[in-house]
């Protein structure tokens, strides 16, 4: 069933691609992974982007022109990423959409940058996915990882009365470190909050028994454990923590969103994740639930994680900027994007400035998993944006 639906979407995309290839079509180039291990992360966000493109085309297009999609597979390989970037740029892309992860997306983004095209990362959460790492024409559709860590710390402090924190960092990727950096930045701002311990592990560690032993040796259990990690190691770490009898609340980044893995840790409770929108059908904004239904209709399955949403946001804000600029010309579009201050989108407001093409503050929904059931319990926006200087360290 799912395959048929996917096929349907592919046909739709192909139809878009082969629709009367007018010279004045606006071209969006996807230099993303259609195979290899990044595919599982790129594809959902790309599908969401396709939904927005289809909506725009059905509503008459952008600046009265249809959006045409060209794609090139990065094969989840960096060198192939640069090649894919060149392929879509040479195919006339006005916007280059690149892979979800900064490391895998940047080669193509750099190609777009040197060609003077706007590039947007599907869901990269490093500050480098933007001016600081690629150049003035590059943006990310998601929110900085640091904001997730800061959000969870501040929320737990205010809403759960957490005072003692433990920090467990998986040094595997920059994303993980970013979450903990945001947490570290926020903690001193919370009066009376203390860090009672800190440890590191690596995502592919066979066992984190030693790290767990250290937590259990603490004179008193922490009020909350900030767990900065991602898939696949996250499930393993969470399961090992709970199996060892540690019941303290666990605070996370968005990377562990989704219910698909919950069966691995039966009856998981006291578990908190910040998300941009809820995939569980209980988003305070009914339009998100409507989007979920649409996504299901297009792809045959529900969004698996919140990382579907930035793909939609990306096309949305870019299209608005193009509308306002009245052109797809990069400098004008960037100027319009940089004027956005708390620009409302389906998945929270977006702000871009000439200093930062990323979100250093964002509204997050807080999802609590209780007895294995995730649901939205709250909403939080950090009290002040994380300054760029802190993000660059």
């Amino acid at each position: 069933m799912r395959q048929i639906r996917t096929f349907g979407l592919a046909v739709a995309a192909a139809a878009l691609a082969t629709a009367p290839a007018l010279a004045d079509d606006i071209v969006v180039g996807f230099a993303t992974a259609a195979s290899g291990f990044m595919e599982a992360y790129d594809k959902p966000a790309q599908d969401a982007a396709m939904i927005r493109i289809q909506e725009i085309n059905e509503a008459g297009g952008l600046l009265g022109r249809q959006i045409r999609v060209v794609t090139a597979d990065t094969k989840s390989d960096r060198a192939e990423g640069a090649r894919a970037g060149l392929t879509v740029v040479d195919a006339g892309a006005d916007l280059v959409v690149v892979s979800c992860d900064y490391d895998f997306g940047s080669p193509a983004a750099l190609v777009a940058e040197s060609a003077g095209k706007v590039s947007i990362f599907l869901c990269a959460e490093s500050i480098k996915a933007g001016i600081q790492g690629v150049g003035p024409h590059s943006f990310s559709a998601s929110v900085l990882a640091a904001v997730q860590g800061a959000t969870m710390a501040e929320w737990a402090y205010h809403k759960r009365g957490a005072r003692t924190f433990y920090r467990l960092l998986d040094t595997w990727t920059e994303y993980n470190k970013g979450i903990c950096d945001g947490f570290d930045w926020m903690l001193p701002r919370l009066e009376g909050a203390t860090l009672i311990g800190s440890d590191t592990f690596v995502n592919d560690d066979v066992s984190i028994a030693a790290q767990i032993t250290r937590i259990k040796a603490l004179p008193q259990a922490p009020d909350a454990i900030m767990l900065c990690t991602m898939m696949p190691g996250a499930v393993s770490a969470i399961k090992q923590l709970r199996d060892a009898g540690i019941t303290a609340p666990i605070l996370n980044g968005s990377g562990v969103d989704g219910s698909y893995w919950l069966s691995a840790v039966p009856d998981l409770s006291n578990f908190f994740v910040p998300v941009q929108g809820s995939i569980y059908g209980d988003d305070p904004n009914p339009e998100v639930t409507a989007f979920n239904a649409k996504y299901r209709e297009m792809t045959g399955s529900d969004p698996s994680t919140q990382y579907v949403y930035p793909g939609y946001v990306m096309i949305d804000v870019w299209a608005r900027a193009v509308e306002r600029a009245g052109t797809t010309e990069a400098a004008a579009v960037v100027a319009e994007l940089e004027k956005m201050r708390d620009e409302p989108t389906l998945f929270g407001p977006r702000t871009f400035t000439s200093e930062l093409h990323h979100q250093n503050r964002a509204r997050y929904l807080i999802v609590e998993t209780d007895q294995g059931q995730p649901r939205v319990i709250d909403e939080w926006t950090i009290s002040e944006p994380i300054p760029v200087s802190a993000l660059l360290r």
């Binding site: 250290r214 393993s236 199996d243």
Partner: protein, 304 residues
Amino acid sequence: MPGLLQILLDALSLGSLYALGALGIALIFGVMRLVNFAHGDVIAFCIFALLWPSVDVVPIVFAGQLPWFLLIPFVLAVGAGLSVLAELAVFRRFRHANPATMMIASFALGFVIRYFLLMLFSSRPKSVQILPGLSQPVELLGARIPLLQVVTILVTIAVLLALVAVLRRTRFGLEMRAAAENFTMARMLGVRANRVIMGAFAMSGALAGAIALILGSQTGTADIMMGSSIMLMAFIATVIGGLGSLFGAVLAGFLLGGVSVAMQFALPLEARPFRDAFVYGAVILVLLWRPQGLLSGRAAKERV
């Protein structure tokens, strides 16, 4: 300072996994001088055999629903079967090749298995619930420790004892030990080479299955790369234990687990991310000290 007992258990349980992995590699190396880089992918395959192929994020549990007394033999058989298949289809044709060629062939085979799994299951980790009964803490000498840790250690000890029994008490074991020490001589005494090698592959594959079960119940995840870090450590353990020495491989596996856990405790926070760099540094030192491995002096050669 955490209890010494707990640290010891941490070290033993991690060491157990490395030791089981090292045994799987040493068994095959012993009889055909092959460093089997596909071993890690066999581990991953074993766990995915519990799922029905699907790229959806929610796994479709298939054989994973079997009761434990069927599940365990099933996974072990999958490992053994895949390994024997690898021997029949690939390695049998490389008996004359030099070790580098065999090693690259095994790597290519592992590559094929990994991408086969990727195509069927996608790269997103799948959650599997294996032997959920093991996911609870137990009280032991005043410490609350995960049951799985105890089980891992006990299983490893049981596997080692069983292996010792097979190798020492059965004709097949005798032939295998003879073949591991001097393959040509064993054949000149009528030992059937293919039978011994196939047996070694089957045992190695079953060990991969055992690791898959332990890892699977510990992490609750099936991931296409899950065998690779064990494979690397096991590979190192096999070499520093003394290639061809099964006992050395086990010893070195436990040693690596112990060093790794000890470093995690002993290193200050800032140095802890560099833990693995220290472990690998120690590996180089051990190799310089004993290039033939810990247990490979002719007289001190293993007698498992």
